[in-house]
């Protein structure tokens, strides 16, 4: 009995340690980067940046975003970068405090939550750390950060809806598949469609959240088909949901794509989605640009050379792809 207790205690500790090691990957990485930086620092001064991001496993968007940042903020480009990942605000704040203690020059932040950042950003300001926000904004005074590089989700939605208006269909009967309710992407992309549909008198056949989930989208569209509803547009707020919707259409033998019965629209520009566009199975895909690093680098370069940033909020260029004009080059360049 005693042995068993001892053994279970031992395994328990091991598991705990494994979990701590798993969660705290950023910590050893940071110290490693610091020691590496110590040697070349004598000859050439590297710019120290601390990057706080969401978990790259969260989505294809985040994976592409993280890859892009890793590529830009490398030693060859004159940066000594440390990364911290978390989907939780409090863990991100702890990571930020650690980066401030480590005396980074720049703190790049994609906050998990909009609230709760005032104190730590004030600390950063006192310590002389310049803060740049990317991808997500926060509820804090503008003076606390240098710049914020964001996507304008409402504009993304508007671009897509404008494209849809341009199709000049005889009638508009839309199935609207929404993302997780309340998320910035959902609000922006739904808002544009809602307003235009009201103005132009479009019929929204079904408006339902599939929570970014392909299976749920498939069920919702299936349900619309089973109920005998007539529709000619599928407006899905991300690619996964568009894919689910298309699976349901295929089952019911409803044709979709360029010049077919149903127009399929997606967002995010996953590579596979753009390939569907290229094959003319879908009609439109809106970009949500994950490549912020070039914008960030530009700002850092300006600040380092003593310049000032005229505009606090920088909205990135985002494209919308039409199946009839997309090229293989677009797929390679913009697919994530």
């Amino acid at each position: 009995m005693k042995l068993r207790k001892l053994l279970s205690a031992a395994i328990g500790t091991m598991l705990c340690m494994a979990m701590v090691a798993g969660c705290g990957q950023s910590a050893p990485a940071a110290t490693q980067a610091a020691t590496q930086a110590a040697t070349p620092a004598a000859s050439d001064k590297l710019i120290k940046v601390g990057i706080i991001n969401n978990d790259p496993n969260e989505s294809g968007y985040r994976t592409a975003n993280d890859k892009d940042l890793q590529k830009t903020f490398c030693e060859a480009n004159g940066f000594d970068a440390s990364f911290a990942y978390s989907l939780k605000n409090d863990e991100q704040i702890t990571a930020a405090q650690k980066f401030i203690q480590d005396e980074v020059d720049y703190l790049l932040l994609s906050a998990a939550d909009t609230a709760g950042w005032d104190t730590v950003l004030k600390d950063a300001q006192t310590a002389g750390v310049k803060v740049i926000l990317f991808d997500r904004t926060i509820d804090a005074d503008e003076s606390l950060y240098e710049a914020s590089i964001v996507s304008d989700m409402a504009k993304e939605g508007q671009t897509a809806v404008d494209w849809l208006v341009g199709q000049n269909l005889d009638k508009y009967e839309v199935i609207h598949l929404q993302g997780v309710m309340g998320s910035a992407a959902q609000k922006g992309r739904s808002g544009a469609l809602d307003t235009t549909a009201k103005e132009k008198g479009w019929t929204i056949v079904t408006q339902q959240t599939a929570e970014w989930n392909a299976e749920k989208a498939q069920q919702i569209v299936q349900s619309a088909i089973d109920s005998g509803k007539s529709f000619n547009v599928i407006y899905a707020e991300n690619d996964d949901m568009a894919k689910g919707a298309v699976a349901a259409l295929d089952k019911a033998n409803i044709s979709h794509g360029v010049g077919k019965d149903v127009i399929v629209m997606g967002f995010d520009c996953n590579k596979w989605a753009l390939e569907e566009l290229l094959a003319q199975n879908w009609n439109y895909d809106g970009q949500c640009n994950p490549f912020q690093s070039s914008y960030i680098k530009e700002i850092i370069d300006t600040l380092e050379s003593g310049g000032t940033i005229s505009q606090k909020t920088i909205i990135m260029d985002e494209k919308g792809f039409d199946a009839s004009t997309i090229t293989q080059e677009d797929v390679d360049n913009y697919g994530i």
């Binding site: 496993n57 339902q208 299976e215 089952k251 033998n253």
Partner: protein
């Protein structure tokens, strides 16, 4: 199975039906069916159409229910056994589906995310995925059985880490399986108009029935769940039995994973089967099974799973406002679960008895 376990076999026919566990999910199903019948009878229409591959297939809301509810029903089999033997639930099934699905993708696609042809036969992919899922099931089982960790806490580990493991298996990529044959498992086999997931589910039910009839796993897992010490004194090995139930759940997870991957030829590990563990547990509860282990009724659990899907499809059909959907579901669930609670059932049984005896006042005053 049910009859053998029901000690109240002697009561009148009516109380027998009420006391039978399967009455609860059955009543719920009837309630939903009647509601739909009144609101819109076309809900029950089934038509035969060609799908885009050119084969005739059945379609309609009922077909959608048996199609989409099948994964949950398969999971409910394993979850019922786990609940019975370990007096707790495995909350990692969703994450485990992500893992087994990713393994399947990895084997079928190799290292290429867009292969031209499948890199391995489907059966090989499924076997590897099943081994992986059963290994993770065994991991949970060992923690629960041998280290005496609470099932919910033990499976919390995989619940947290599972989707990251799934991401790691495919290098954060989302491979797509080529070819039409792979789509059969989540779609239709050419020439057969019934959705394949339902056929797979039926096969699983038959296998489970055979397993419960010809092996002692059902009896053993119940006795372990009721009293571990007496089971041990009677020569059973409770640890091994608990472990076995978790491995069986692992196999159920692998089958579900196959269907899920096949539906779209790919999965997104971060959202696949999200929150399915809660639905699986709910299916067990709806089946009138005690969540604190012991006796179970497999058929009731399976019916419970289809009731949940029936409810979901009904809500979709009536275009319940997206934001309000979970609230509606919660209300229905609360009603069903409260009705199926042993306390309420006992009270209604007593009430029924009183009503009956009041009809014969002579006896009452005797």
């Amino acid at each position: 199975m049910t009859k053998k376990l029901d000690p109240h076999g002697g009561g009148s026919a009516i109380t027998g039906i009420f006391r039978n566990q399967i009455f609860i999910p059955f009543a719920a199903l009837m309630l939903l069916a009647i509601f739909n019948l009144i609101a819109d009878p076309s809900f029950f229409a089934i038509t035969m159409n060609n799908n885009s591959a050119g084969y005739p297939v059945l379609s309609g809301q009922l077909i959608t229910i048996i199609d989409n509810g099948s994964e949950l029903a398969i999971l409910a089999i394993g979850m019922t056994l786990v609940t019975a033997s370990s007096r707790g639930q495995d909350i990692s099934v969703g994450a485990a589906i992500a893992i087994s699905g990713s393994v399947l993708l990895r084997v079928l696609c190799g290292t290429d995310t867009r292969p031209e042809t499948m890199q391995a036969p489907i059966i090989v992919g499924f076997i590897v995925a099943a081994i992986a899922a059963m290994a993770f099931g065994a991991f949970n089982g060992v923690l629960v059985a041998y280290f005496r960790i609470q099932p919910m806490v033990a499976t919390l580990i995989l619940f947290t880490a599972g989707r990251s493991i799934a991401a790691w298996i495919n290098n954060n990529e989302l491979p797509i399986v080529p070819g039409e044959e792979f789509k059969y498992f989540g779609g239709y086999i050419p020439g057969i108009p019934v959705p394949t997931p339902f056929l797979i589910a039926i096969l699983c039910f038959i296998l489970t029935w055979l397993m419960l009839k010809f092996t002692n796993i059902g009896l053993y897992s119940q006795s372990v769940g009721i009293n571990e010490k007496t089971s041990r004194l009677n020569g059973l090995n409770p640890e091994l039995i608990k472990l076995t139930t978790y491995v069986i759940l692992g196999l159920c997870v692998a089958v579900t994973g196959l269907i899920k991957v096949s539906r779209l030829s790919t999965i997104n590990y971060s959202v696949i089967a999200k929150d399915i563990e809660m639905d699986a547990i709910l299916a067990v509860a709806l089946g009138g099974n005690s969540l604190s282990g012991g006796k179970f009724n497999m058929a009731a659990s399976i019916l419970g799973a289809y009731v949940i899907q029936f409810l979901t499809t009904t809500l979709y059909k009536f275009d319940v406002q997206a934001t309000a959907l979970p609230a509606y579901k919660a209300v229905v669930v609360i009603v069903l679960v409260v009705l199926s609670a042993p306390v309420v059932r006992e009270k209604t049984a007593r009430l029924a008895k009183k009503l009956r005896s009041s009809k014969t006042p002579a006896e009452n005053h005797a």
